[in-house]
């Protein structure tokens, strides 16, 4: 069902947790559909210095969250905004067809977090 890479990220998820004073927080999904991803980012000098996630969802949801955080840590905001859900799935060696839509939302959550960061910095 899942690739080895998915199982690796599911079993040993990278960057689980939350940040105390994040630059931005993004959340997508809802409990009704069975998947929620929340991503916290810490941005300094336009670069994602730190990132954490919390996910309620299936194996694919957890693995995509994990690898997504790994893929953007140390990247600039612009680079991070280029990341798509499809890129995340590819980095995992693919996902089962029925997981591509509902559980592959990590990039969306990241983008929400960046949006939140931008909103905050504009206000601030």
């Amino acid at each position: 069902m899942y690739t080895e890479k998915v199982m690796d990220h599911f079993t040993n998820p990278r960057n689980v947790g939350q940040l105390e004073n994040p630059s931005g927080v993004g959340e997508v999904g809802n409990p009704t559909c069975g998947d929620i991803m929340r991503i916290y980012i810490d941005v300094k000098d336009n670069v994602i210095q730190d990132i954490k996630f919390k996910t309620f969802g299936c194996g694919a949801a957890i693995a995509t969250s994990s690898i997504c955080t790994e893929m953007v840590i140390g990247k600039t905001i612009e680079e991070a905004l280029e990341l798509t859900n499809k890129d995340v799935a590819s980095a995992l060696g693919g996902l089962p067809a029925n997981k591509m839509h509902c559980s592959n939302l990590a990039a969306d959550a990241l983008h929400e977090a960046i949006k939140d960061y931008k909103n905050k910095s504009e206000q601030g």
Binding site: P31, C33, G34, M37, F56, C58, G59, A61, I62, K99
Partner: protein, 386 residues
């Protein structure tokens, strides 16, 4: 690593005696029961012996047993076959909200074809209220189909009472007993049902064979047409190895039923007690009116598939009513029908016991589940309490 198979509700490992009998038939008794010659007569004899064993398990006559390819076909045959057979009498069918899809979907297909369908609700333990059935019956009702034991939450229905209500109104009663046969005593006359479905692979027999009990005189048309097998009600060369194995599994089930039911009820209750000691967990289904093999709990804040994957990594096989494992976008219709929210339904875990499970298995599961639940909760954005 310890391997613990607790998914007997999905399917069971064959009993070694069943494997032996089946392998013998596969190797030495390959005749077609319809053939006139010695090979055919030998096959026919074994076919009828198996029919007798299978009939005995549910207190039926051999000629009331019709072999099918499984529980799904038996359910479809009962529902679509009675509907077609009694088309002239009426077009109203009654079922319950927690049926297996093998019952619900043929009912919905009939609805699309112009039938009226009443889906009875269940209470928060998953029981149909007899008074609801009494109120739903109409002049044009041709069939009531209510399952004996639910496959997800294990709740037993008051079938004898429900069937009596239908009988008083002259309406045929079908029960899907796929999950009760072999686990608790099932007798078609004590239950008073006219049709009853069951499946070999849930009672340590092989996949690909089941049976529909049809009370003598019940009007029903076949789903498929061809040779004269199963008295024209279910054509096609009989799955002899499967049927003989089913017969053996039925004999063993009957022989071991009481002892196994006692043993498994104890294991089940230890599991229930141990799991419900975890915070923010609920038991789904009826506490006592439940098959001896079923445990179903919901853990708040976590999702079922990741729970299953985590348990799988510990060698534990289980199942869940989560949408991710149901093949649809929604979580189990059964859990929703007993009043669970989507969120809680997603976090359900079903453990179903069987003859290979031991006290040791239960210990192992009770040790590992809390660890896994805690780990997933710590990753969950919903679990803010900590």
């Amino acid at each position: 690593m310890q391997q613990v198979y607790m998914d007997h509700g999905a399917t069971t490992p064959l009993h070694p005696e069943v494997i032996a009998v089946m392998t013998d038939v596969l190797t030495n008794h390959y005749g077609n029961p319809s053939s006139v010659h010695a090979w055919g007569r030998d096959a026919k004899k074994r076919l009828e012996e198996a029919r007798t064993s299978v009939a005995k398990l549910i207190g039926a006559q051999p000629e009331e047993i019709f072999f099918t390819s499984g529980g799904t076909e038996a359910d479809n045959m009962a529902i679509l076959g009675v509907a077609k057979g009694l088309e002239k009498k009426g077009k109203h069918i009654i079922t319950s909200a927690i049926e297996h899809h093998a019952v619900l979907y043929p009912c919905e297909v009939l609805k699309k074809a112009g039938y009226d369908l009443t889906i009875l609700p269940v209470d928060d333990q998953g029981r149909v209220r007899p008074e609801d059935l009494a109120l739903a019956l109409r002049e044009d009702t041709v069939l009531v189909s209510i399952m004996h034991a639910n496959n997800e939450i294990g709740t037993l229905q008051p079938i004898a009472e429900l069937a009596r209500i239908a009988k008083e109104r002259g309406v045929l009663f079908h029960t899907d007993a796929v999950q009760s046969v072999g686990k608790i005593p099932v007798n078609v006359n004590e239950l008073g049902v006219d049709l009853l479905s069951f499946s070999a692979h849930k009672i340590y027999g092989p996949k690909g064979v089941g049976a529909l009990y049809i009370r003598r005189g019940s009007r029903i048309l076949p789903l498929t047409h061809g040779g004269g097998q199963e008295r024209r009600r279910r054509p096609g060369t009989e799955n002899l190895p499967g049927i003989v194995a089913f017969g053996k599994a039925a004999e063993i089930a009957q022989r071991d039923l009481t002892a196994e039911a006692d043993r498994l009820t104890k294991l089940r209750d230890r599991l229930i007690d141990g799991l419900t000691a975890i915070p923010e967990v609920r038991l789904n289904g009826h506490r006592t009116e439940r098959i001896p093999t079923n445990v179903n709990v919901s853990f708040r804040y976590i999702e079922g598939e990741s729970l299953l994957l985590s348990l799988d990594l510990k060698g534990i096989a289980a199942s869940s009513g989560s949408a991710c494992t149901s093949g649809s976008l929604d979580p189990s219709h059964v859990l929703l029908a007993i009043g669970l929210s989507h969120e809680i339904a997603h976090g359900s875990l079903r453990l179903t016991l069987g003859r290979i499970n031991t006290e040791d298995d239960v210990d192992y599961v009770l040790r590992e589940v809390p660890v896994v639940v805690e780990r997933l909760r710590s990753m969950s954005p919903l679990y803010n309490q900590k």
